[in-house]
Subunit: 168 residues, 2 copies
């Protein structure tokens, strides 16, 4: 009846696969650069970048984990590595004794500053070179919208909603 639902899939799947493929390819390329020039992994770079962006250079573990889309235990491990290398410090939040606040050190900022130019270069060469200025705008806008949408969408199987009533 509705001529809509079915026939779209092919186009959609193309866009979807292209998106994921570009993401993988880019990440792979960028990881090479980070590894050889600064001995950092992609996650570590992301963490440091986010800390650099923060007004006071600090974030709680959970916020970082959610931000970079990583498991909590995984982030604990990575934060440990970064700390061992003197790029961040960890101390418990005075406002919430459970929380751990990660802060970027001067060495961390210096490293990011050193790596960023080359990093941007790789991205520019691979991602932006084949794009007209117009496309960049669209891409940025559309992806931003999608990101916000996904972030706002509750994980389909939302918390069991422990209802007070006996039913269930």
């Amino acid at each position: 009846m509705t001529p809509d639902p079915a026939p779209l899939d092919a186009d959609q799947l193309n866009a979807y696969f292209a998106l994921m493929e570009v993401g993988s390819l880019l990440q792979h390329a960028v990881e090479q650069q980070l590894r050889t020039e600064g001995d950092l992994s992609w996650v570590q770079f992301q963490v440091l970048a986010r800390l650099t962006d923060a007004p006071d250079g600090r974030h709680r573990m959970t916020d970082l984990a959610d931000g970079v889309v990583y498991s909590r235990s995984g982030l604990t491990y990575q934060a440990g590595l970064l700390e061992k290398n003197g790029l961040v410090t960890r101390e418990s939040d005075p406002d919430d004794e459970r929380a751990v606040v990660v802060a970027i050190t001067d060495a961390g900022r210096a490293l990011i500053a050193r790596l960023l130019p080359g990093h941007v270069d790789v991205v520019r060469r691979l991602l932006f070179q084949p794009l007209r200025h117009r496309d960049l705008d669209t891409l940025s806008q559309v992806l931003g919208r999608v990101r916000d949408h996904i972030r706002a969408t509750p994980p389909r199987s939302a918390k069991p909603r422990r209802s007070r009533g006996p039913a269930t």
Copy 2:
């Protein structure tokens, strides 16, 4: 002087980060669905999907690895798992005794057929719902272009080019 090169970086970085973030979020969501409904990982799904698309349901290991952006050894491992579960078979290529050809089995096709609807559903809900039809087209086109560009770009440190001459 040129008001162009420098000031762009901020916008560009935004688009770039949005792209990577959406990729991560999508993959994460999709992985949940595949794992609970069919006990497949994202890579395994991609491999089976590519085999399904192939005219004869076969691909060489290397082509698969490059296609899904995965290490060779990693693909060996995954192919082993898929084979153990009866979703693919592996046999050496008669045309090239070194090569191994992976072929999808009926069980493999059946599994993909079973999973695809739910899979498409997740993607539609997260990626396409917030997009106008127009945006989808642009996205598809732009990302396709980028993908081709990256695929065509030699890995910056191209093969040492063992020149015959003595000068390095």
